[in-house]
């Protein structure tokens, strides 16, 4: 039966046509696939490259070589992609992720807020737009590297009680601080010392207060409390913050859009059973 079919002329014909069809079709595909187009713009760019490299216009042969090597590179890339070499390559994957991030970043930062939006944002985040505490104070340092710290402190407390100024040890820390924001006080004296200043009364010697260096007597002459900075004078900063916020939001929105489009399937690993 099989023999009979194989020897049938009609079958031969059909087979023959099929082969021709496949071949013909493939040739078409093949020809499209194996074509490297070097566009006018690309040729211009190659000419420019030569100009930059050699500091003179190209000669024909150079351009031919450049086109050829450009084309060869394209062919290699195509072959590599054909082999799937671009898949699962961490360097390529990261570069792609990076490009996406760059695109998103650029796109998100284009907007300018309306006055309304800016005002709303400013009010909602008013904590970020307050003047800092500003201090003017004197400071006397008591080194704890030396012995008899308690005694020396007591001596100074007695001086204060008598209405005298306390006396301290040498240090390269400033002893008079004029109109410095809390942030700058923290820079000089550390967090521990600076936070305590908010609680004390002004115009009297207080202490000893502890810092990372040792102990201090402090005389706060002035403490300006926090006030809202008027929007017009920090409009640029608020705008930047608004844009920063929008960008984060934009990215989140984009990601949530992606999450909606994709389904994440986690293969349950057998290992989990023993965990």
């Amino acid at each position: 039966m099989l023999k009979k079919i194989i020897s049938e002329p009609l079958v031969h014909f059909l087979l023959f046509s099929l082969i021709i069809f496949i071949l013909f079709n493939n040739t078409e595909i093949v020809e499209e696939n194996y074509k490297v187009i070097v566009s006018e713009g690309r040729v211009e760019q190659l000419k420019n490259d030569i100009l930059l490299k050699k500091q003179r216009p190209h000669v024909e042969q150079e351009l031919d070589i450049a086109i050829e090597s450009y084309a060869l590179n394209e062919i290699y890339l195509r072959e590599a992609r054909e082999l799937g070499l671009d898949k699962g390559d961490r360097v390529i994957d990261r570069r792609l992720r990076q490009k996406m991030e760059f695109l998103l970043d650029e796109m998100a930062s284009i907007q300018e807020p309306s006055n309304q939006e800016l005002k709303g944002f400013y009010q909602a985040n008013i904590d970020n737009y307050l003047t800092p505490y500003i201090y003017t104070f004197k400071q006397v340092f008591i080194s704890t590297d030396d012995d008899a710290v308690e005694e020396r402190i007591k001596t100074q407390q007695q001086r204060i009680a008598k209405g005298l100024e306390p006396q301290g040890d040498f240090s390269i820390l400033p002893s008079q601080i004029n109109s410095k924001s809390l942030q700058l006080v923290v820079k000089d004296f550390g967090e521990k010392f600076s936070q305590q200043l908010a609680d004390f009364q002004t115009n009297q010697w207080i202490g000893p207060i502890e810092s990372g260096f040792g102990k201090h007597f402090v005389f706060i002459e002035e403490r300006q409390s926090k006030q809202a900075i008027p929007l017009p004078s920090i409009k640029e900063k608020v705008t930047q913050d608004w844009q920063y916020f929008q960008r984060q939001k934009f990215k989140q929105a984009y990601e949530s859009e992606l999450w909606q489009r994709y389904v994440i399937e986690v293969s349950e690993n057998i290992n989990r059973e023993d965990g």
Partner: protein, 642 residues
Amino acid sequence: MNLHGKGMKMKSQLLVVSICAAVSSMAVASDTTAHNQSKNYSPYAQSTMPTNVYWGDSHLHTGLSLDAGLFGNTVGLDEAYRLAKGEQIDSSTGIPVKLSRPLDWMIVTDHTDLMGIATDIKKGTDNIIANPKGKEWHEKFKKGGKDAGEAAFDLIQNFAQMTLPKQFVKDYSPGSEVFGGVWKDIVEAADRHNEPGLFTAFIGFEWTSVPKGFNLHRNVIIRDNADKALQVEPATTQPPIGSTDPKTLYKWLANYESKTGGRAFAFAHNGNLSNGWMFPTEKTYHGGVVDKAYVEARAKWEPHYEITQIKGDGETHPHLSPDDEFADYETWDVANLDISELKTPEMFKGEYAREALKQGLLLEKKLGTNPYKFGVGGATDSHTSLATAEEDNFFGKSTSVEPSASRINHPFIKNEMGAIEGYQLVASGYTGIWAHENTREALFDAMERKETYATTGPRMLVRLFGGFDYNEADLQSSQFAKVGYAKGVPMGGDLKGGSGKAPTFMVSAMKDPISGNLDRVQMVKGWMDKSGQLHERVYDLAVSGDRKIDKNGRAKQAVGNTVDIENATWDNSIGEAQLSALWTDPDFNSKESAFYYVRVLEIPTPRWVLYDKVRLGAKIPKEAELVGQERAYTSPIWYSPK
């Protein structure tokens, strides 16, 4: 507190501290005229005396740097600056991160190459508008909000599917001319975040010269604002336009200054990975000769050196300083940057800062100019956008080694010739700049006059003055700094006069309020004798506790160690908060040129690997150091017999 001066030991006493005249606020009445006394009453008016230390990172990469991006860094410029200014952000691996304290300044030093299509759509350039799709996107972006989001999605889909208009593909294919918007981004971000008086964001970049794996990297710092910086494109190293020869960078700098009227200089780092080529004394890597032209250009364009950072500490090496028991600190001495050529001992001479400072004296004698007369600073060189230099808050060299239990197992580099292991990364460093205000101009000028010092992360306060007339009273004076400037020079300066007298130095160091106490303050002296031989010597100036400095100027007894290896904690029961000294060089010879710089050592504290072990459960290889003594290096003061 022990004070050691001229071999004397003094116990400090309580001193009457004059209240109304503070150290930090005294003025040098520089160009005020004396004839109107009342006009000169206020000591603060017109003062440019450096009264503050401003802390910063001079070397940071964001995701814009190609290598950083490839390692997965997706944290951009704005986030990098916000972190430096004290805000909390998320790292590329999603870990919330905040610095212990804000920095005062930063230089983002990225490489450049990127795409520019989004910027052009935003602007609506001619080629974009000419295309209907481009026009549509532009208009939607202009509308903002939801429309912009849609356009973004559409654009990215088209980009991903390779269905962008053909013309766009042509216009924005990877080639320098179209991918070149990055410099603008970097410059504009710096200007956006520069807040004179509060935070200085320098415009800069890294010139990444690394021929055959020999690290010749330089960072470039620009004093000016965007208007000048945008008149140029940053220097590159890839031919045909760029070159790896530092001479071409000097040319770029000269061109920048003449073209824009602005100011800029370069500073190198990681001589330790140059296999001897960082500080040449005879021939340069690029086939040049160390001649008059070379030393003059190097001195002019490189007044600063990044002495310590993530890829190893560069002060000195035990091979060069065998008598210095603290020399073997975080040294990387396997090979060059890509381990393509192993290290041999004769290479060290061209790699480390202390030796370069010495060789500079010799070259000055030979050629008339000291090419290696540089100030010093520390930087992170992080590629994570995160300027983290503290051991307990260390986000690693690149995104791939942000905190995780396994990061320690990733070698920095490894091949058949050798390896630089993951645990060798250094959580380092920052630069302290003495200046009178926090502005681009004041900080740049201070770096140029070398009034800077490097630390491996902690922010200790270090003052150094050199002169011929200081006495014990000056050291204890409430006007310490004013006297320091009036009777001598600060770190980075040149000793003048003295008529044969030995110079005296005033040194005072105060611990970082949140870091370890101080172990000791040392003077490192380098000099050249009559026959042209180079020497170095380390003196202890002040040490904590009851330890004694012997007649050779050393206290060999170690400070001790309080680190609890199980819990990664330590305490300040040893060491001292403040160490000061007045020191006169006991071995001075007025005919010998010399330099003097101060090294301040903290008590031992945990290295980052120990925190990884305790907090993340990391398995630490037994070769890894768990404890280290963090330190500061000041810029030198030089003496020349001329």
